[in-house]
Amino acid sequence: MIPLLAMIRKDLQLFFSDRRSVIVSFVVPIAIASFFGSIFNGPRTGEPAKIAVMVIDQDETAISKAIVAGTSADRNLKVTVADADAARDSVRRGKTAVAVIIPKGFGDAAGSAFFNNGAKPELELAYDPSRNTELAMVRGIMTQYVMEAVSREMFGGAQGRKYLEQSLPQVESSSGLDAAQKAALLQMLRSVQGFYNTPGQAGSSGDAPRGITMPYTVKEQAMTSGNNVVYNGYAHSFAGMAIQFLLFAMANIGVEMLLERQRGLWKRLRSAPVSRTTLLAGKVLSGAIISLMILGVCFLFAMIVFGVRIEGSLAGFVGVSVACALMASTFGVLVAALGNSPATARGVTTLAVLMMVMLGGAWVPTFIFPAWLQQFTLIVPVRWAVDGLDGMTWRGIGLSGALAPIAVLLIFAIGFSLVAALRFRWEEG
C-alpha cells in the first residue's frame, strides 16, 4: 500500500509542479467551454435567436405591405426594410442571412394566380450560402405571410373586390368553358361577391381578420429536466471541453511515462519489490484523480458562473465522472504501452484525442451528425461520457440513465488496461 500511495502522491506532485499543464488542464477548457456555451446556449429568456432579414417592398400594394407587416412582427425574424442593392450587399458581407425582395406587380399577379392559373409572381430570396438552414426557415415563414396576405386581400380587400368585378363579366362572356364549368365558377364568384356585401365585411368593419389563416397554433415545450427549467447550453459545452482536456492531460501522462523510461526511472521503479500491477495501478489511480479534479473544477465553475445544475441524479453524475476518469487514465497508460518514443506518441495521441472528442460530440452535439455516423460514434467512449454527463445535468435523467454510460466507460477502461498490461515493455535491458 505504501508504494501505491507514494506513486499517486508523486504523480500529483509532478502534475501540479508543471504550471503549463495546470493552466492547459484547468483554465483552457473553462475558457473554451464558456465560448462554446455562449454560442449554443441561446438567450436565457426562452426566446429563439432571431434571423437577420432585410425586406425590400418594390410593390407597395396592400398585399406587399401586409407581408412586410407580418414578417416584421414575427418572433423568429429581425426585419430591416432596405433597398435592393443595400440588402444584397449586406447579405454578401454576411451581415444579413436573407434578403426578401417583393417585386413590382407582385400583389396583382399573386391575386390573379390565387383564383386561376395566372402566371405566378416570383418572390426573390437573396441568401448567404453559408446559412442554408436559416434560408429554409425564412422560406417557410414567408409562405405563411404571403398566403395570409393574399387570401385576406382576395376575400375582403379592395384589390379582391376589383379583381372580382373584372372577373365576373369575363367569365360570363367566356366561350372557352363548358356550360357546367362556367356555371360553377360563376356561382363561386357570386358567392364571394355576396360575402363581400355581407354587413361587417369588405371594409364595413374595417379591421376584422379575413382570408386564409394558419389553421393551428404551436405550443413549444423544451424537454429539459422539468417545467420552467430553461435549457443550459453551458452544461454540454463544459462536459465536452472538460473531457477533451482531461484526455489531453492523460495522454500527456502516457508520454511522460515514456520519458521516464528514457531517463532510466523505470529501472529504479522496477528494481523495487513492487508488482507490475501496483506500478500500473499507481499510474491509473493518479490519472483518475487528476481527471476527476479537472471535471470537478470545470463543472464547479459552470455551476457558479453559468448556473449549470445537476438536474438528474447526483450519484449518477459522480458515477459517470468516475467511470470517465478511469477510462481517460487507462487511455494514458495505453499510450505509454503502445508508444515507441515520446515524440511520435505525442503526435499520434493528439490526433487520437481530437478524433475521439470530435466524434464523441464534445464539440457539437451528435444529433447534427448523419444517421450512420450517430450509430458509428457509439464505439467512441467520449460519446458515452458526454451523453452520460448531459443526461445527469440539463436532461435531468435519473440514476438509471447513468448505468449504461458507466458500464460502457468501465468496459473501455478494462479493455485499455488489459491491452496496456499485455503490451507494456517491462524488461529493461
Binding site: 505504501i2 508523486k10 526511472l265 529501472k267 529504479r268 519489490p273 508488482s275 524488461e427 535491458g429
Partner: protein, 253 residues
C-alpha cells in the same frame, strides 16, 4: 558464503546472445569491477542481477537464496544506481527520496532517518529542499547514489556512476564508495574508467561478447598476462593494457 552469487546467466535478444554463461561472486565489504567494451553485456548482466530482466538460464542468489519475481523481498537487499540520472527533475531532492524510499516500504520516521543518512553520506543535506533541476551534474550523480542507498541494501549495483562529473565530484563519490565498503556493503561497479577500477576494485571481472573472459584481482590479471606474450616481467602493466590485451583493439561501436 558470498552475498551475491551469479550462476551461468544467459540472455538473448532475438538472435543476439547478449549474455552467455556469466558467473561470478561478490562478498560483503568488497567491490568487484565489471569491465567490458561497449555491447559486451555488462548492463544486461546488471539488469538481470537487479531483477529488471529475467534470465533465460542461470540464477542470481542473494545470500544463498535464489532471487524470485518482481515482489521478492530479497530485492530489498539490492540497491540500484542506474547509469541514467533516474531522478524527477521537477521535484525536490527530498520528494525524490521520499518516493524512492516508499517504493521499498519505508515510511514515517524510518524514511526520514534513511533520507538524512543518505544525504549526509553524499554531502547534500543543505540542498534537501531544492529542486533537482537546480543541481549541478555532480550533485545529481551524488543524489542518484543516495537514492540507491535509502533502504540500506547489502548489495549496491553501480552502473557507470561517475559519467559526466567533474574530478571533485568523482572523488567525493569514490570516498562515499570506500565508506560503504567499510560498512560492509558489497559493490558491483561497471565503468569505462580504468583508473577508477584500479583505485576501488578488490576484484575485476572482464566481459566480452557476453562471456566472462577474466575474473581476478588486478595483480592476478597482470601476472597472468606476462607469460602470455605481454610486456616483459620487469615492466608494470596498467589495467588499460590488460584490458586491451584481453579484449583486442578493434572498435566495438
Amino acid at each position: 558464503m558470498p552475498i551475491l552469487d551469479v550462476r551461468h546467466l544467459r540472455k538473448s535478444f532475438g538472435r543476439l546472445v547478449a549474455v552467455d554463461d556469466v558467473s561470478f561472486t561478490l562478498e560483503a565489504g568488497k567491490l568487484v569491477g565489471l569491465l567490458g567494451p561497449n555491447g559486451a553485456g555488462k548492463t544486461t548482466t546488471v539488469s538481470m542481477v537487479s531483477g529488471l530482466v529475467t534470465p533465460e538460464r542461470g540464477d542470481v542468489l542473494i545470500a544463498g537464496k535464489k532471487l524470485g519475481g518482481d515482489t521478492d523481498p530479497a530485492k530489498r537487499r539490492i540497491g540500484l544506481v542506474p547509469q541514467d540520472l533516474a531522478l524527477y527533475e521537477e521535484l525536490s531532492a527530498m520528494a525524490n527520496l521520499k518516493f524512492f524510499g516508499a517504493l521499498f516500504g519505508l515510511s514515517g520516521g524510518r524514511l526520514d532517518k534513511a533520507i538524512g543518512a543518505a544525504m549526509e553520506l553524499v554531502g547534500l543535506v543543505d540542498r534537501m529542499k531544492d529542486l533537482v533541476k537546480t543541481f549541478s551534474g555532480g550533485m545529481k550523480r551524488r543524489l542518484n547514489l543516495a537514492a540507491g542507498l535509502l533502504h540500506d541494501p547489502d548489495i549496491l549495483l553501480l552502473d557507470e556512476p561517475t559519467v559526466g562529473v567533474d574530478p571533485q565530484s568523482r572523488n567525493a563519490i569514490f570516498d562515499n564508495l570506500e565508506e560503504l565498503k567499510r560498512r560492509g556493503k558489497a559493490l558491483l561497479y561497471t565503468t569505462h574508467y580504468m583508473e577508477e577500477v584500479e583505485r576501488l576494485a578488490d576484484r575485476i571481472v572482464i566481459i566480452d561478447h557476453g562471456k566472462v573472459i577474466a575474473d581476478d584481482t588486478l595483480n592476478g590479471l597482470q601476472s597472468r598476462l606476462i607469460p602470455a606474450g605481454g610486456p616483459s616481467s620487469g615492466e608494470r602493466l596498467n589495467l588499460e593494457t590488460v584490458f586491451l590485451t584481453l579484449t583486442g583493439r578493434s572498435l566495438r561501436d
